[in-house]
């Protein structure tokens, strides 16, 4: 059976499982069945695309008699699709495995199970679809099912609002993509991607497609300022679904962008990269700044998804710039960086969401200000979260560093570009990328430190239990992959060869690309190289050697004592640094501009026992400047129009009369 067929079967199995779950009255047994089946299917799908990518198989296509009869459902498996399927299957396997571990009480199986399986099936079809109709069909289905998953805990008004905003934005995105496809298809309505590639669009049309793709894919992926739904919706879903939404679904949005802009549109002018770079850099920085202001663990993670999407799009923007100027090597590096980051972000973001889910399950708390000290109660989860934090903070030798390193390497190729504007823009974007990475590290010191370290801030933590083996297996599987991709990135990058070959002006990264000992040297050995394996071994060796020698030659005893804290040990855990206080310096430096952060301190006079209060007010620029005015405008218009519901019959007749007269006038003018 061909890889494509297996992928389709996997999707079909997932869909069928969902249907079965919908038709039954699912309980615990069903949960086990659904999650088990989807995990196995995902694993099979993963192996299939792995073989497909590593063997360099030629693309396979099939047309099924579904959808619109005169075009049918085109399905195609090529390296690009396979790469995203790889990401998808890994993510879904981990999520399903994690969900298997909801041993005591799977969250709302009747609501979750059918939608979950359907969500997986729809996501599975998105990269495979090779015509506009099937693509949008799967795309919308994906949105719809995840919308239902966001609504699982619908009793909370916040979740309902999140779901609403989410699906509306998803609708906006789909409409943009639809229009983009409409332009690509041309007048004869050739919706198949294969035909679209043949079309050569007029420059304005191509530019319109590009902008629509930025809006459409960007709204789904979470580009600033279209990201607003993301931090609302992702945390609202059950944690394993949050992992999928953040880790995988946003990547499919990236896929749609790459597919449209790099594949379907064809050659592009260089200036396209300018708006993309600007938006991407803004997204990266804004995402992490938003995240720093959060104290809801899952929402913080969701904002980091925004940040990472910015990083990915930065890579894509660079690839566009290079490709337009015929710098195939640069394009290949940038594209590889972006696509590798797609995988990496899925790995560590799923890991983080799953660990956050473990925390949520164990304590029932998402608010970091109520957590603390979990490292003692949940050591394994803490370790997983720590490694995930290090990966997302782009620290060597983990995987996050590799893709950011590649992005920087791509930036270093930018002097070869002929456009002066890009000479200035690209390094600045790179600096913003560095800023985002450093702030991300700060944010994860905060997230990990406040959640897992210190002393418990509430009784919920005191009763926390470590999660079960399925959940730990899911988390540590992802940890292993984070480390693996970090130290042997060449393995993952080798799989991307087929993609860059087709999309980056045919550039195959040179044979010097992967030099001895599996180190990365994208632009020839003289340029720059990085070897995660050596760095890791080096660090491990140094740490081990120093630890050993210290213990061997110096003191090895450890004495425990009370906390010193500069001589003021306060037993109350409330005196610890909180998430808000951790972020305070950053809020003062960046937030006062970006969020117009204002602090107000109410200090009671001496002798007054009432507590002092510190109130922080933040203004979300996306809501404040874009969405709220828009909503207000719609409300205003509807308010005005609504009078039309309460007219008298005579006035309605006036309308009819005027319309009739107007039509007659039109006719009269037409005939003259």
């Amino acid at each position: 059976m061909s890889a494509l067929a297996i992928e389709l079967v996997v999707a079909a199995v997932q869909g069928t499982v969902g249907l079965l779950a919908a038709a039954s009255r699912p309980g615990r047994g069903w949960a086990f069945f659904v999650y088990g089946a989807t995990a196995v299917a995902s694993a099979i799908g993963f192996l299939t695309v792995l073989v497909f990518l590593s063997s360099g198989s030629p693309p396979a296509a099939v047309v099924l008699p579904l959808g619109l009869p005169w075009i049918g459902a085109h399905l195609r498996l090529d390296p690009l699709a396979a790469w995203f399927l790889l990401v998808l299957h890994l993510g879904s396997a981990a999520a399903s495995l994690f969900a298997l571990g909801y041993d005591a009480e799977p969250p709302r199986p009747r609501a979750v199970l059918p939608a979950y399986a359907g969500f997986l099936a729809a996501m599975n079809v998105v990269p495979l679809a090779a015509d506009a109709f099937s693509f949008l069909f799967a795309w919308e289905a994906m949105s719809l099912f995840s919308f239902l998953l966001v609504l699982v805990h619908h009793e909370e008004g916040e979740n309902r609002r999140a779901a609403y905003v989410y699906l509306l934005m998803a609708g906006f995105g789909s409409v943009c993509l639809l229009l983009a496809f409409g332009l690509l298809a041309g007048r004869d309505g050739s919706y198949a991607f294969a035909d679209m590639v043949q079309h050569r669009l007029a420059p304005w049309a191509a530019a319109a497609v590009f902008l629509l793709a930025v809006l459409g894919a960007g709204s789904k992926a979470g580009l600033f300022p279209l990201h607003v739904w993301l931090p609302l919706a992702h945390p609202a879903a059950p944690s394993h679904v949050s992992a999928l939404m953040s880790g995988v679904m946003t990547k499919l949005a990236v896929y749609s962008f790459v597919r449209i802009v790099f594949d379907l549109v064809g050659p592009s002018p260089w200036w396209w990269s300018v708006p993309l770079l600007v938006v991407a850099a803004a997204t990266a920085v804004m995402g992490v700044l938003y995240a720093l202001m959060q104290h809801d663990l899952k929402r913080l993670l969701a904002y980091h998804t925004v940040e990472n999407i910015g990083i990915i799009f930065l890579g894509l923007g660079l690839a566009l710039a290079f490709r337009a100027s015929g710098l195939a090597l640069g394009a290949a590096i940038a594209l590889t960086a972006a696509l590798l980051h797609v995988l990496n972000h899925m790995l560590f973001k799923s890991l983080l969401f799953l660990s956050a889910g473990a925390v949520l399950q164990a304590t029932g708390e998402r608010d970091m200000e109520h957590l603390g000290g979990l490292v003692h109660r949940m050591p394994a989860t803490a370790l997983a979260f720590l490694l995930g934090s290090m990966a997302i903070s782009a620290l060597p030798p983990l995987n996050g560093f590799v893709s950011e390193w590649l992005t920087f390497q791509a930036i270093l190729v930018s002097p070869a570009l002929p456009q002066p504007l890009l000479h200035y823009l690209v390094p600045v974007a790179g600096a913003l990328l560095a800023l985002a990475a450093a702030l991300a590290a700060a944010c994860f010191v905060k997230a990990f430190g406040v959640t897992f370290l210190g002393r418990a801030r509430s009784s919920a933590v005191a009763d926390a239990r470590e999660v079960d083996r399925f959940q730990l297996a899911a988390m540590f599987g992802l940890v292993a992959l984070c480390v693996f991709v970090g130290i042997v990135p060449a393995g993952a990058i080798g799989l991307l060869r087929g993609v860059t070959q087709t999309l980056a002006e045919g550039a195959v990264l040179g044979e010097g690309w992967l030099t001895g000992w599996l180190s990365l040297a994208p632009a020839g050995a003289l340029r720059s190289s990085y070897n995660g394996l050596v760095v890791l071994s080096f660090v491990l060796f140094s740490a081990g050697a120093s630890a050993w020698s210290v213990h061997r030659f110096a003191s090895a005893r450890l004495v425990r004592g009370p906390i010193w804290d500069c001589g003021y040990p306060d037993p109350s855990p409330a005196t610890q640094y909180t998430a808000a206080s951790f972020a305070q310096p950053i809020r003062r430096v960046f937030g006062s501009v970006v969020f117009r952060a204002r602090e107000q301190v109410d200090m009671p006079p001496p002798g007054d026992p009432t507590p002092a209060r510190l109130v922080v007010r933040l203004v979300d620029p996306a809501w404040n400047w874009l969405f709220e005015p828009l909503a207000a405008r719609v409300a205003e218009v509807t308010e005005r129009l609504n009078r039309m519901q309460f007219l008298t019959i005579r006035r309605y007749l006036v309308l009819v009369f005027l319309a009739l007269v107007a039509l007659l006038v039109v006719i009269a003018l037409w005939q003259v």
Binding site: G372, G373, V375, P379, A382, A394, P396, F401, W405, Q409, I411, L412, P415, P420, Y424, P427, A431, L432, L433, A434, L435, A438, A441, V445, G449, V450, L453, G454, S519, R527, S528, S529, Y530, N531, V534, V535, F538, V539, L540, A543, S546, V550, A554, S555, R557, L558, V559, R560, I563, W564, D565, C566, T575, Q576, Y577, S581, F582, P585, R588, V589
Partner: protein
């Protein structure tokens, strides 16, 4: 044989880096003491301090987790590896290709991350204040450093330190305004990264102003020693980095360039370190500690200089 020399050279460098670091710290202190017309402690005082700490039992808070126990070693290892990858007396050592300048910055980031996390472990407000400020400073220093990296890499066509050294040695750069700007920027970053005055004061224990010391408050004994040692190595690494990029003169081109060249390189390196450390001491002695919230402006200046350096680079290159 060649492999043996490779390993030897690399090993020598690693040992030298660790061995000389406390001396460097002592040198800086000595310089400062001289400026203040004091005799100051012996040059070897840092060694004695470390030995004293090593010989003591480590005392940890009751609720400290394994994080507190492992972090000092991770911090030390990351800094040590970074230092080992920076060309000191010879460029192109055996593992130089394992990491470029960006990766070295990343390794410093790793060390900082580990230390900041450890600062949160016990759950004191001082640990939190230190970690929080440290991460703020880092988030400002890192982009500035990256701009410098860009400037230099764009010059040299590589972010690999060995290639940069080669390039500078070959006279590829000459004196350029961008290079000067980059030097100032990297100096500022180095000051911030090493918690020196005016950004931080390694000698202070005044709550409101400290950053680095606040993080390591709960440490004692060998753990503290490791952290102190790491700080010393880090200082050495940064000075070596500046030396390697801006003053690579005398450096041996590789481990196979003969004993003589190696010896010259070693001497040159020591001289450069002495000069830079003296400059640092003089600078520190002549300036006051800043308020914490003035520091972002200071580092923002470094970032601006970095950007300017990149921009001017393109101007002078006429690209």
């Amino acid at each position: 044989m060649a492999g043996l020399i490779d390993i030897f050279a690399q090993g020598l460098e690693m040992l030298l880096v660790v061995g000389l670091a406390p001396l460097l710290v002592g040198w800086v202190r000595k310089v400062k003491a001289h400026v203040f017309r004091r005799r100051g402690p012996s040059l070897l005082q840092p060694y004695r301090d470390l030995l004293r700490l090593f010989s003591k039992d480590a005392l940890l808070a009751e609720n400290a987790s394994w994080i507190s126990r492992t972090a000092p070693y991770v911090v030390f290892a990351a800094v040590w590896v970074a230092a080992a990858l920076i060309p000191t007396f010879a460029a192109g050592l055996v593992f130089h290709w394992a990491a470029d300048l960006i990766a070295i910055v990343g390794l410093f980031g790793l060390a900082r991350f580990a230390l900041a996390v450890a600062g949160m472990d016990v759950g004191t407000s001082f640990g939190g204040i230190g970690s929080s400020r440290e991460m703020l400073l880092a988030s400002l220093a890192e982009p500035a450093m990256l701009m410098v990296v860009f400037t230099i890499s764009l010059f040299a066509g590589s972010s690999q330190l060995a290639s940069i050294v080669d390039f500078v040695l070959a006279g590829g750069i000459g004196i350029r305004p961008s290079l000067g700007l980059a030097l100032v920027a990297v100096a500022i970053v180095a000051i911030a990264e090493n918690a020196r005055i005016p950004v931080d004061n390694p000698a202070t224990h005044l709550e409101l102003t400290m950053v680095h010391e606040a993080m390591v408050f709960e440490y004692s004994g060998r753990h503290l020693a490791m952290i102190e040692a790491a700080a010393a190595v880090k200082l050495l690494a940064w000075l070596s980095l500046i030396a390697a990029i801006f003053l690579p003169f005398g450096m041996a081109p590789g481990p196979h360039s003969g004993f003589g060249a190696m010896a010259v390189g070693l001497l040159a390196w020591l001289a450069k370190l002495a000069v830079l450390a003296t400059l640092l001491g003089l600078f520190e002695a002549s300036i006051a500690k800043m308020r914490v919230f003035r520091v972002p402006e200071f580092l923002g200046g470094a970032f601006a200089l970095g950007v300017l350096a990149t921009v001017l680079l393109f101007v002078s290159r006429g690209l």
